[in-house]
Point group: C2
Chain length 428, copies 2
């Protein structure tokens, strides 16, 4: 896989013809993603390309391991020609995440199906960034060890301000990171792989995953609230991420929403994060058996600390623990106040509660719209739909992998033909 | 002037050629706006159009009263050909505003120069909407009575939720208006004019005026805070207005920023508007001689009530009136808190304080950035530039007129040839 300009292996000889062909490869591949498997004849009819061109394009996509010929399905018996479908075998797109208390990796095949997923508890805030990244590289290796498909890219999510073009994390306060060259380091650790390694903010990537999961209309506006130790948001306006002047858009955790309240990690008082972050909940409803992750925790721990703690809180709430229920009610109150501020300012088509907020669903879903109504000026909260994320804590890795897939759908020639590496091996 | 498809008077005969010509008319007219007067030869060189085409396009633009031949300027003596410049005589674009306590009209010529301006104090909240609109129509007539140029459109600004496509004000709580068909009514009162009558939210139009006044980069993000009785904002993201799901984006006056505070006109407690609106200032620093506008106030009142009140407050603050200074300090505090929330969420390139906030500049400008720093997570408030609006209360009418001009620059054939009405009169 490469990033630069590419000559297609078949097709026209001029630059213009090559550009048109690349575009048409994208049209056919995206059509199969958006409309499902179908015959060459149907692809030609629906895309407006002629049949000979479609056959040639499909041949190239097969060659690159992006589509395959499936058996004729029962439902379509009698239709002429074989069914072309997205290939689920040859390529994978990888999302990775570094966050407070855990590392996470997820790989999607071209059909958007999860083919690998690993997460480990790790006290990322206590370890040196270089050690954290070394563990992430090993996790990437181990997650992909049983996967025969070729990676076509890795996108890394970090909770903080990133510089996408240089691949440097400028500031991730909850990790204690400043100016860490994540992309350069991971690329080195992976042995300078032939695929791209990208970097973005975790809330931004999670918001993109949510656009897909919620089926947001093209050009729509969405706010995803993410919450663990920190609280942030990924904001999509007109179908595109809102990044702002220096990439700080969506730093809603530090909106000042109250006069008092517990001190925030940022040193201020009154921050939304201090009122609704996971630490606020844990402080108000301390655990029965305090347990903390440590750098020495066994790496094969199957259940990250975060989810264990949430499960504990959920069990106690379900059992009617007054202290836990009161703590959740307090989170709910401030969550609605902050969400109301954002809905007043953005009037988004969709507000999605993600991260640990989604785990509070059983206790807050019932009253949420009614409470929001109290804080939003527009009648019936301005038509904003409220949803809970179905993605748990996998939003950032899923969004990262989706971004990588999106690159492939936009320009399929970024993926080298399948047999090339094998052929080279054979000649050695 | 008309809105529908138009055949150019010269040029190609097919639909495609007509489209290309309309586009090229826009290119030439916009080039003159953006780069100033210049010769046909230079226009051709800079736009890439051939000289014969430019001559034909210029002839049509002259015909429509949009450009004229100026004298050759001293600085350019020796250059071949005459200088073409935007016409300042033949057409005007009109902005109008209905707001609490006043009506306002402003007309710009094609060069963006103010050619007419009128404002009257009127107790718009006490009068029937139909009477307010009748007064607005008369104000439009009287403002344009000495103007010989033809209006090419009127844009009406209202503080509330408008439906641009139907021309109906859905809800303007500070005026007490619900479902008022403003465009239909004004069009009727003006005798169904040949030019379009448009409607938009006042903060939105003021934000567009600010994009121009502040020289915001193309594709930049800007938040304009407007304040009088109500507090609102116009938000520009990527160079375009953020409208949201139902047009309610920017309703920041009702962000809940505090637990207590005075009750808001909307019935809630803790709204930003109740903390920083003009009424909060006036309540904390009551006037020496209470004076209220009434529907029976003489219409030739040269100075609307709002500006008189602000001047009074300014004088007392300058004289060191402790009560007024304390009231301003309190406004300043809550203004910075609310602005900090928005800067955290949007990280805009530019935050503009408009409306009556701009009148507080002498007392708040010095400390504003420093105070904002205390409420914004990103280092040095994320690179957001803070500015005060230079437009006073004329932002909405100026933005409205600019929107009308923008339509003309985008499609000059919307403006009928100049001599057409005269020729028709002669044949009568």
């Amino acid at each position: 896989m490469r990033n630069g300009p590419t000559r297609p292996r078949t097709g026209g000889s001029t630059a213009d013809q090559a550009t048109v062909r690349r575009h048409n490869l994208s049209v056919v591949l995206s059509h199969l993603r958006d409309h499902g498997p179908r015959s060459r004849a149907r692809l030609a009819g629906e895309t407006g390309l002629n049949k000979a061109t479609v056959s040639s394009l499909v041949a190239e996509l097969v060659d690159r391991g992006l589509v395959g010929e499936g058996e004729t399905e029962r439902a379509t018996v009698g239709r002429p020609g074989q069914i072309i479908r997205l290939d689920g075998e040859h390529v994978v797109a990888v999302g990775a995440e570094v966050n407070v208390g855990y590392l996470s990796v997820l790989a999607l095949n071209l059909r958007g199906q999860v083919v690998a997923r690993q997460r480990i508890a790790l006290d990322t805030t206590a370890l040196e960034p270089a050690l954290v990244l070394a563990r992430l590289a090993r996790l990437l290796d181990s997650a992909l060890v049983g996967v025969t498909a070729r990676p076509v890219g890795v996108a890394i999510a970090v909770p903080g301000l990133v510089e996408a073009d240089t691949g440097v994390v400028r500031a991730a306060p909850n990790l204690g990171w400043t100016d860490i060259p994540v992309v350069a380091e991971i690329s080195r650790l992976l042995g300078e792989p032939p695929y791209p390694v990208l970097l973005d903010n975790e809330a931004n990537l999670a918001a993109l995953a949510e656009v897909e999961a919620q089926g947001l209309d093209r050009g729509g506006d969405l706010i995803l609230l993410t919450a663990a130790a920190g609280v942030g948001s990924g904001i999509v306006v007109g179908g595109r991420l809102l990044r702002g002047a220096q990439g700080f858009a969506g730093e809603v955790g530090h909106m000042r929403v109250r006069d008092d309240g517990p001190p925030c990690a940022c040193g201020r008082t009154g921050c939304w994060e201090a009122a609704v972050g996971l630490n606020a909940l844990l402080a108000a409803a301390p655990e029965h058996e305090p347990a903390r992750t440590s750098a020495h925790e066994p790496e094969h721990d199957p259940l990250p600390d975060l989810e264990r703690r949430l499960a504990d809180i959920g069990e106690r709430a379900a059992a009617g623990d007054e202290r836990v229920l009161a703590a959740i009610a307090d989170i709910d109150r401030w969550l609605t106040i902050g969400a109301g501020i954002l809905v007043n300012a953005f009037n988004p088509h969709l507000l999605v509660l993600g991260g640990y907020f989604a785990a509070l669903r059983p206790w807050i879903a019932g009253s949420l719209r009614e409470e929001l109504r109290g804080h939003v000026f527009a009648r019936d909260i301005g038509g904003t739909r409220v949803a809970f994320s179905p993605l748990g804590f996998s939003g950032p890795v899923r969004g990262g992998a989706s971004q990588i897939l999106d690159r492939v759908f936009r320009d399929p020639v970024l993926v080298e033909p399948v047999d090339k590496p094998l052929a080279q091996e054979e000649t050695v």
